[in-house]
């Protein structure tokens, strides 16, 4: 158990180190970083000062050390567009992203879990078919397109038919603004939950101990809710952990579509504006969230599943 956890933590740290190395190499490959901050009107003193701060007169491995050291202190340099520290800009955006991620996660559970159970219990029924459609669309439609189609239907067309849109199509002004982005972001995971739960439930319902419970005369409800669901939830829980992390990156696309003022939108704006210091800071923060989520799942899973603990 301890060895397992140690390994996981070590791996998470190496991952972050690898990402920082990639970012460092890319920032140098992109050209002289001084050109990012300075222009033709800068004086020679400006150049010299920046050369010293960035350590450009030193060998590369020392430059990386400087980069890593300031990154650990949360210092990624000034955002070019905003003209203030990148970290400051990022911290302001985090709540919106977390809010959206949680809402999407809630949606995926609220839709995916009941539909998954019902489509396994009532196999071949209308509900099963409906579940299949939800799952197929969720796994095949590109997220950005799904979002636009929801906007088209519930804002643009709804407005044509009823004189007003059902929900706000973009922004974060009203509480209901979160509905469309959360559904868009959560759909894929709702589909995944549904499929996982359905097949897990079908497996469990077919198992010996469920047959035994039925033979003993246990009522159908108890067989489903107590004997089957608990066991079928294990793969869903694992997946839920993985999704928490990738919800973070899914927000890149969805926040762009819905002009949701979070980290994802910030990353794309940094990309479009060639704001490299900001982009590398966002990428590090995103990776940190992703790795942290994966790590906490690993730890949780070790507690839940004894097979991992002892191997």
């Amino acid at each position: 158990m301890q060895r397992y956890l140690l390994r996981r933590i070590l791996l998470a740290m190496v991952t972050l180190l690898a990402v920082s190395l990639i970012i460092f190499v890319m920032s140098r490959a992109a050209g002289d970083p001084r050109h990012v901050y300075l222009d033709d009107y800068s004086t020679q003193e400006d150049w010299d000062r920046l050369t010293a701060t960035l350590g450009l007169d030193k060998p590369y491995y020392q430059q990386y050390g400087i980069f890593l050291g300031s990154a650990l202190r949360g210092d990624f340099g000034q955002s070019i567009k905003e003209g203030r520290p990148s970290m400051e800009v990022i911290v302001e955006r985090i709540p919106a992203t977390l809010q959206l991620g949680l809402a999407a996660f809630a949606f995926s559970v609220i839709v995916g879990v009941p539909l998954g159970i019902l489509s396994a219990v009532k196999r071949g029924s209308f509900l099963d078919m409906a579940g299949k459609v939800v799952a197929l669309v969720g796994q095949s439609a590109p997220v950005f397109w799904l979002g636009l189609m929801l906007v088209f239907l519930f804002a643009v067309r709804w407005n044509d038919w009823f004189g007003d849109s059902l929900v706000p199509p973009y922004g974060r002004q009203e509480i209901s603004s979160i509905i469309l982005p959360a559904v868009t972001l959560g759909w894929f995971y709702a589909a995944a939950n549904l499929r996982l739960l359905r097949s897990a439930m079908l497996n469990v319902l077919d198992s010996e101990y469920v047959k035994l419970a039925r033979a003993k005369g246990v009522s159908n409800n108890i067989v489903i809710w107590k004997h089957s669901l608990r066991n079928a939830l294990i793969p869903v829980l694992t997946f839920a952990g993985i999704t928490l992390g990738s919800l973070v990156t899914g927000s890149l696309v969805v926040e762009t579509v819905f002009a949701w003022p979070g980290l994802g939108q910030l990353a794309i704006q940094a990309l479009a504006g060639n704001d490299y210091p900001l982009l590398q800071a966002v990428v590090i923060v995103f990776t940190l969230m992703y790795v942290a989520a994966a790590l906490s799942v690993d730890i949780m899973y070790a507690y839940i599943d004894p097979r991992i603990r002892y191997s």
Binding site: S140, W145, L148, M149, L252, V253, A267, A272, L279, Y290
Partner: protein, 299 residues
């Protein structure tokens, strides 16, 4: 005596035989296969099929609706975009980009993945440990983020996009191939080959590799959909194959702010992506069940 015990097989009448042949296909995913063939065909023969130039339009024709809508014309079956370019032709040429990206990416990713999987599984030890930790690290980094950093630093081009996606694709191949090799290398026929004096490359390619092919085919079909979605997401975010090349993702992005006036600009290419990915997934599921049911746990 075996010679005169000829088995007399009753040959059914011709129509019945055809019917029986057709009956064999009842479980084949014919509709997905149709769309996939259509996708590959339009991708390859795009210049011959497309009715118009996908990159040039007339401003007089901009935002024309599809033929079945009011004001649409039969000249532009799916309408035109904000620059008057024919949507149908752009969707057709978009198939070409998606096909090329998916094909090259999977080719490159598969070669890297299979090579490292074979090496890791066969040699084991520190080499295995090293390769598999790289796989772990890669799987722990969100692909799209990595792609954004690389695109911003290195610039946008077809080759860079393919390289990025290949980096995203190879770890899964490596991991699965390694697993297969670990099982295969304990088999008797491998030991026999060794005893017979076969060289390591010979054992790997002649004896072990064929055992991995089924897994590879299934994995590749399931990855096609992922690659196409990734590529279109990158183009949607403005980090894909640069315009004016008609990529499906950037076409959807073109129509974003025009949903109220010209809904078809975003809808059509998105529909194309969904159809291809859906067909690929259904086809892949079917193939997996036929070739390698053990892979079920993949999804």
């Amino acid at each position: 005596m075996a010679a005169d015990a000829t088995l007399v097989v009753q040959q059914p009448a011709v129509p019945a035989r055809i019917a029986r042949k057709l009956w064999q296909f009842r479980r084949w995913p014919l509709i997905p296969m149709f769309f996939l063939v259509l996708f590959v065909f339009t991708g390859i023969f795009a210049p011959l099929i497309a009715p118009h130039d996908p990159e040039r339009g007339g401003l007089r024709d901009r935002n024309l609706p599809p033929a079945w809508e009011e004001g649409g014309s039969s000249e532009f079956l799916l309408g035109t975009d904000h620059l008057g370019r024919d949507m149908l032709s752009r969707v057709i040429f978009g198939a070409r980009i998606s096909l090329a990206v998916a094909g090259v990416t999977l080719g490159v990713g598969m070669v890297i993945g299979v090579a490292s999987g074979l090496i890791a599984g066969w040699y084991g030890g520190w080499l295995d440990e090293f390769l598999m930790r790289i796989v772990d690290i890669k799987l722990a980094i969100p692909t799209i983020l990595l792609a954004l950093v690389l695109v911003l630093a290195l610039g946008q081009s077809f080759l860079i996009i393919v390289a990025i996606l290949a980096i995203a694709v190879w770890p899964r191949f490596a991991r699965n191939v390694r697993g297969e090799v670990l099982q295969l290398k304990t088999m008797d026929f491998v030991a026999l080959a060794k005893v017979a004096g076969a060289s390591t490359p010979r054992i790997l390619f002649i004896h072990i590799f064929p055992g991995v092919i089924n897994t590879l085919i299934v994995l590749a079909t399931l990855e096609v959909g992922i690659v196409i979605l990734l590529e279109s997401t990158l183009s949607f975010l403005g980090a894909g194959v640069p315009p004016p090349t008609p990529a499906w993702g950037s076409m959807v992005s073109d129509g974003r702010d025009r949903l109220a006036v010209a809904w078809w600009i975003s809808t059509m290419p998105g529909l194309a992506i969904m159809l291809v990915v859906l067909s690929m997934n259904l086809f892949g599921d079917w193939l997996r069940d036929r070739l390698d049911p053990r892979l079920r746990q993949l999804n």
